[in-house]
Subunit: 384 residues, 2 copies
């Protein structure tokens, strides 16, 4: 690689997707670690846990009983962060007052789902086959399709049989709100604030476009206007050529440790052709996408022979937006895992990172080469 | 308070200092917590630890021996994230190439100090009196003054006897570099990635203005241009009047849970009058500042009767910058603590927060009122 010197000097890298910089200190992994040790992820779990609120047939906090589902199951989060129905809020501040520029608030409505990935309490995505993961991809697609604004150019692209579950107390008389944006994500492992090992993710919809997708949208739009091409399609092409940060690839998707990665083993999953959202993927691409997810999660577990914690999620076109916003959107997947050196030693993004800017120790090239070498079978007995 | 309804509805608040939004879900603390528990901070420690690389008289990784210092002691970090001397880097990318917009890097030089706050291994800022903390404030000021660009309007405001310590291997022949920015911070507690309980902070200098101070600078400058006044001075005035988010105040400083706080018990320490940097504080103000720091850290420990983890740091004028940049800068202090419910239950900023936007559970008003009520003596026997 022409930039071999970057393995040795402290430098900053630019993230064109967010429009921000990170600090890279490759020499810094040499320092000894005497700090906090994480508890390694629990691996020995029963296939069914009578106390788990996600297992089939069990009762939840709301009093509802889960159906005897097989693969996926969706319900409205019993402790949603955004609420569907709430009191109105009127800005109380006089125009031009100090309050009006320094104490600004706006009401935010939304709806939060929980989505299980398997009926089995003891599995993770890393234990599941691409054929099993594709059901999760299809369910994400269905849920996304069902909540698209009827005015979106994406509406109607995919038939969806998904009937949005209602919140407890909602008798069905209320017309469901149209939301602006849907964030699909998973927190895996107790190090990532996850309190239940049953494989599941979350889906939050809300009336505003949140900060991260808004920053990306800005950058994607600018790039499209300036160059006429799509930033992430160009990036996938460039990484395929360079072969310096590739973790895995198939005909449809590329898995890379991005040039600008913040977390030690952060990866991005990118379609090779321009896809605005999940509904743009055909069946073959859904399978390729599922394979890519399987490859990432299995490699993560193999890397330190542990159930690897991470947060991951999908960025894609907003549910409602201008034509330009939707056309410039690019479907992609971020994995943000905290571990750095071993199953128990994580990277802390703390003082300098909170007050200065994100800082990483190993280079993305080093991370990619290690993850590339971790393919093959799952290190532990395949449970599924 | 007129916005009582904000205690009950999900809403977003605007952070005018960074120009970004956060999501507030006050109803969400009702959910039960079954996730990770933190190890409470260690409180029983010896006054001197022969294995600690920060205690007076001990040897460090570099081979150097610490002097028998009394209060503070500064040295160059043996594992600095930015290096003073390193190979040059020339951008290898052809202008207009894909690489040139998607694989952007720049070399970054810098220097990192470690600063102890006390010779005693077993103390924290919460155990120290304002008179002891003022020595730390003076040392920060000295170090900052010693690294100011000679062209800065702030240069020469404070006499400083501080002689910058040299990196191992630096024989003193080399002319010291001028850096653009200095980040003073402390990571406290193992939950914040701190690996040594001996009370200490860090100071990183570098050739670029990092992301966070750059974002604040942008907002402060805009506000100054538009209104002619200083954002944080106006904000301190407004909070003094409102009395809704005040944790502590004295004649010179205000401690508030800011309207836009992200972390559950985040606070900001603000001077009432406009100060651009530490060197603008007179002796009386240094004492008031030290009192404010003592009040914050003691209240934190009292809140859950634990040694409260946090990252904290100072934002102030860059070491080198245009006159406008320096004049619009406003000295302030951020405390970012992770705990939410108890000594062992923290807030996780994970999936939604990494992919969507920061989200908090209790309101800043609720946090401020709890911290306000935690004044008085330190809950544990004062060790100093
Ligand atoms: O410098 P330390 O204390 O070894 O390390 C700690 O603080 C640094 C600056 O915030 C972080 O980059 C590290 O991840 C953290 O463990
Ligand atoms: O929703 P959960 O799994 O209870 O909670 C977890 O994920 C949320 C969304 O990222 C975070 O806000 C919480 O801090 C975290 O503990």
């Amino acid at each position: 690689m022409p930039e071999a010197i970057l393995n040795d000097i402290s430098h900053r890298r630019y993230n064109p997707l967010r429009g921000s910089w990170i600090l890279v200190s490759p020499h810094r992994t040499k320092r000894p670690w005497q700090g906090q040790q994480e508890k390694p992820g629990t691996i020995e779990l029963p296939q069914y846990d009578a106390k788990c609120y996600l297992c089939p047939g069990n009762q939840r906090a709301s009093g509802d009983t889960n159906p005897n589902y097989d693969s996926t199951f969706v319900f409205v989060n019993d402790y949603s962060a955004v609420k569907e129905v709430q009191e109105e809020y009127t800005n109380p501040n006089a125009e031009g007052s100090l309050e009006d520029s320094l104490l600004v608030a706006q009401a935010e409505k939304g709806k939060c789902y929980v989505l299980t990935f398997s009926k089995r309490h003891d599995l993770t995505l890393a234990d599941m086959s691409p054929n099993e993961i594709v059901k999760v991809v299809q369910m994400w697609t269905d849920i996304y399709a069902a909540h698209l604004s009827p005015d979106s150019p994406l509406a109607g692209l995919k038939k969806t049989g998904f009937v949005p579950p209602r919140s407890p107390g909602d008798d069905g008389a209320r017309v469901q709100d149209q939301y602006r944006y849907m964030q699909i994500f998973e927190n895996k492992g107790s190090a990532m604030g996850c309190s239940n090992p049953h494989p599941h993710g979350q889906i939050w919809m809300q009336t505003s476009l949140p900060e991260e997708p808004a920053a990306e949208m800005e950058q994607l739009r600018k790039y499209k206007r300036e160059k006429g091409t799509h930033l992430l399609v160009d990036y996938a092409k460039l990484e395929t050529e360079k072969e310096e940060r590739i973790v895995f690839q198939n005909d449809g998707f590329l898995v890379v440790c991005p040039w600008w990665a913040t977390w030690p083993f952060e990866v991005m999953v990118l379609p090779r052709r321009h896809a605005r959202a999940l509904v743009d993927l055909n069946e073959k691409e859904q399978a390729q996408f599922a394979e890519a997810i399987a490859e990432v999660t299995r490699r993560y577990d193999n890397l330190f022979e542990t159930s690897f914690p991470y947060s991951m999620g999908i960025h894609q076109a907003p549910l409602e937006g201008s034509e330009e916003e939707i056309e410039c959107s690019s479907l992609h997947f971020h994995f943000y895992p905290p571990l750095l050196r071993s199953a128990t030693v994580r990277k802390f993004l703390v003082g300098y990172e909170m007050l200065g800017e994100p800082q990483r120790d190993i280079t993305p090239e080093q991370a990619a080469s290690r993850l590339q070498g971790c393919g093959g079978k799952l290190y532990r007995k395949k449970l599924a």
